[in-house]
């Protein structure tokens, strides 16, 4: 299982940031060729990111590159330059529908080396049209590993004003989470853009987790710790999940049909959730700690 609690953007034409991208402990780093790079420097950033992918130590962070969207005419060159450098995934901006994914996937397949494991796709949904197509995008190609939400462009597309409270994006968030869940992939939330507002960030992370997001994009390394704290399973969740797993195995041994934990019925989706929590807890080494608190 790939954990993507935090996905940290690193500007693609900034050598200092590129070489330090691995030190912040983000689950994923997103080396950005799109918004962070001015139109005149696209060629320079592409080479810089390609060389960084080959040589920079990103420690345990998943390596993702955000390429330029299909309407820019840069996508094919980006893919040809980046995919052979073995990123783990590409983040495709402004995905409008499944055809975009299929086009990109074909280009990626052509650019991959003979023994290269397939590079995954994370689709960034940031238009009303893309949101309407979210499930079809999520299921357009087996490479699609997650849907991510970009609220700034999306809100502009709606003709709404982006607010800190975010009522204007509540429906979109829920819709996106649902589409991802239906396709059995992860949903990643939009970044919290006010990097000075720690309390606002913590509240926004809590809301995203509550809505079903599995992680959050981030535009500032300082946010990573808070995002991890927010998306890591809590002690309460771990204890609950272990009870569920124990109840299931006990039921199997005894051949009982109906299973309940704390007076509530357990069925497949609940078991799935419990298993995910346990897996995350194991990855993060949190299991023992849960019982100390």
């Amino acid at each position: 299982m790939t954990m993507r609690r935090s996905m940290l953007f690193i500007p693609g034409n900034n050598p200092g940031m590129l070489q330090n991208g691995g030190v912040f402990g983000a689950d994923s780093v997103i080396l950005d060729l799109e918004d962070a790079v001015s139109p005149l420097e696209k060629d320079a950033a592409r080479r810089l990111v390609a060389h960084a992918l080959r040589t920079v130590n990103y420690a345990n962070s998943e390596k993702v590159v955000r390429i330029n969207s299909l309407d820019t005419g840069l996508t094919e060159d980006d893919i040809k330059a980046i995919v052979p450098c073995r990123p783990d995934a590409l983040l495709i901006p402004k995905v409008q529908g499944p055809a975009d994914i299929q086009k990109v996937a074909a280009l990626m397949a052509a650019a991959e080396g003979p023994e290269q494991p397939p590079v995954q796709i994370i689709a960034l949904i940031e238009t009303p049209r893309g949101l309407a197509e979210a499930y079809n995008i999520a299921t357009a190609d087996p490479r699609v590993a997650a849907l991510a939400f970009g609220a700034e462009d999306y809100t502009a597309g709606l003709g709404a004003t982006r607010t800190k409270e975010g009522q204007e994006i509540l429906t979109a968030r829920c819709w996106l989470v649902n589409a991802a869940a239906a396709a059995e992939i992860d949903a990643i939330d939009t970044p919290y853009t006010d990097t000075a507002d720690e309390e606002g960030l913590i509240a926004d992370i809590a809301l995203a987790k509550q809505l079903g997001f599995k992680g959050k994009l981030s535009i500032n390394p300082r946010q990573v710790e808070h995002i991890h704290a927010g998306f890591s399973p809590s002690a309460k969740e771990i204890i609950w999940a272990e009870k569920v797993i124990q109840a299931i195995s006990l039921a199997k041994e005894q051949g009982t049909g109906v299973i309940a934990v704390d007076g509530k019925m357990i069925d497949a989706p609940i078991v799935n959730r419990a298993e995910r929590i346990i897996m995350l807890a194991q990855l993060l080494g949190l299991q023992k700690e849960a019982y100390h608190d």
Binding site: Q19, N20, V23, F24, V56, N57, N220, P221, R222, E225, G285
Partner: protein
């Protein structure tokens, strides 16, 4: 001979004398009485206020070869050193020793005085700017002595640095020589680094641009030790003395390091009531204070004192009740000045009280934790803050070695790579603070613990901190940047680096232009 940190030293150095090698941080014992300055008297009806500096020179009189001392509380806004030395040059004096606690870019005229022979030697704790470069290129005539803040106090109090005349830049004084640092146009806060000079010099001169009615209040340096008062138009530039605010770094890598350092302090079990802490004013160091502040708030603990160079940030913590006291040897900003003037729990102390190893107890010994920087650190945890990786002087210990020796937990915070340069090396260019007094190195790529502190290693591992062997960190740095070429100069010795106990821990050689 080779000293305890493996540095090859001559037995004797022209212009300096016999060299006593560093033998371990606490191995050298004092074997001398304290220095006793001249006894004076002042008859009723006599006056202390003189017309100008020239009158001071002729009245004492100041002769060739004397040692003149100065404090550095005006930092890059100081006007007094240049004024006094210009007077010396005008009067044709030669071969003076300047004992100035720290040297800043504003002191560039010293270079001409080196060249003309007015000044033959410099005795200081920290040098930045053109004077540092000039020394590296072979000026002045005699080797520069680089001490620690506590070591300078020790040298004065124990007789190795005899001061003929101390010129004290005095933000406020009265006609009878009482001095404080908290009023007047050049208010700089604590005058702590001038205390040993005032106490032990043969003559003490207050140089001021702000005379108040007798008696001045409060009094930092008393009339009983001040011989003359000189009033001039302007003794310094307030803009160079105190900055308006001291900012916490926004650099994400430094913040990452600071966050790790704060977690290390917590894992050491030190976030408890009574915590005492020293941090510098530098970016990452101040950021550590901000993370510690958050932990203190969350757990509701109250620290005992903050020490060292004081910033508005520490003043806020005092006023918020997170620390009970501030012990202030030097203020860095206007908030520190304001607090020292107004808050009885903000204490002004001298350099000896702060850090002299040879008295009956200095405050660094009471420190739980100090956060320090490094230009280079080696795999034995020896730290260089004197020279750059190119061997050119660009700093000095200041209080670095003192606080490291005193504190229960000494943490070095540093970017593993500065630009392309790995800060972690096999052997630092110039040993300043010995590794035996350094417990932990925190970098953006992980934390290394001194093998002498296995207790800490266990605690850090339990807390899940990213602990790595120091040689592994070095390998990471070299994987990223490549192995740097190092050239050690074989030139003449231009400076000796004195450890706080008076032994020599390293030397600095001339680097060609």
């Amino acid at each position: 001979m080779i000293n305890a940190v493996g540095r090859e030293l001559p037995d004797y150095l022209d212009g300096f004398g016999k060299i006593k090698p560093f033998n371990g941080a606490f191995a050298t014992l004092p074997d001398m009485p304290r220095q006793s300055p001249k006894v004076k008297r002042m008859c009723p009806g006599n006056h202390k206020v003189l017309n100008d500096l020239e009158e001071v020179f002729t009245k004492i009189p100041i002769r060739d070869g004397m040692t003149l001392s100065f404090h550095h509380h005006f930092r890059n806004g100081d006007g007094v050193v240049n004024m006094v030395l210009a007077t010396a040059a005008k009067l044709g004096l030669k071969n003076l020793t300047v004992a100035l606690s720290s040297v800043f870019p504003v002191h560039a005229p010293l270079i001409d005085h080196f060249k003309s022979g007015v000044v033959a030697a410099l005795d200081t704790n920290y040098i930045s700017g053109p004077v540092a470069a000039a020394i590296s290129q072979g000026l002045p005539a005699r080797p520069t002595i680089l001490r620690t803040h506590g070591g300078r106090a020790r040298a004065i109090e124990c007789g190795q640095l005899h001061i003929d005349v101390a010129f004290i830049a005095a933000p406020a004084t009265d006609c009878y020589g009482n001095i404080n640092g908290v009023s007047g146009p050049t208010a700089c806060g604590s005058l702590g680094y001038a205390f040993p000079d005032a106490e032990y010099a043969d003559y003490v001169i207050a140089v001021t641009d702000h005379l108040e009615e007798y008696p001045l209040s409060p009094i930092s340096i008393p009339q009983t030790r001040v011989d003359f008062v000189v009033k001039t138009d302007r003794i310094g530039d307030p803009k160079g003395i105190v900055s308006g605010t001291t900012q916490i770094t926004k650099d994400p890598v430094q913040l990452k390091i600071a966050s790790l350092a704060a977690q290390a302090i917590k894992a050491s079990g030190m976030i408890t009531d009574g915590l005492s802490l020293q941090t510098g004013a530098g970016g990452a160091s101040l950021a550590v204070a901000s993370f510690v502040r958050k932990m203190m708030r969350e757990t509701g603990i109250v620290g005992s004192f903050a020490l060292g160079g004081i910033t508005g940030y520490l003043v806020q913590m005092l006023e918020e009740g997170l620390f009970k006291k501030i012990v202030d040897v030097q203020g860095f900003d206007l908030e520190a000045v304001r607090s020292l003037a107004a808050n009885p729990n903000h204490l002004e102390v001298g350099a000896g009280f702060y850090a002299n190893p040879f008295n009956s107890g200095c405050t660094v010994n009471q420190l739980d934790c100090v956060i320090l920087g490094a230009t280079e650190i080696d795999t034995n945890f020896n730290v260089n803050v004197v020279t750059g990786s190119d061997g050119i002087i660009m700093g000095g210990s200041g209080g670095h070695s003192d606080a490291a020796a005193g504190a229960k937990l000494t943490i070095i915070v540093a970017n593993l790579l500065r630009g392309r340069l790995p800060i972690l090396v096999d052997q630092v260019m110039t040993v300043t603070t010995p590794g035996e007094t350094v417990d932990v190195l925190v970098t953006e790529w992980g934390i290394a613990v001194n093998p002498l502190r296995n207790d800490l290693l266990e605690r850090f591992k339990t807390a899940g901190l990213p602990v790595k062997d120091i040689s592994e960190l070095k390998r990471i740095a070299e994987d990223i940047a490549g192995i740097p070429q190092t050239n050690r100069s074989q030139g003449k010795i231009v400076a000796v680096v004195e450890y706080r106990d008076g032994t020599i821990i390293d030397i600095v050689r001339q680097v060609p232009k």
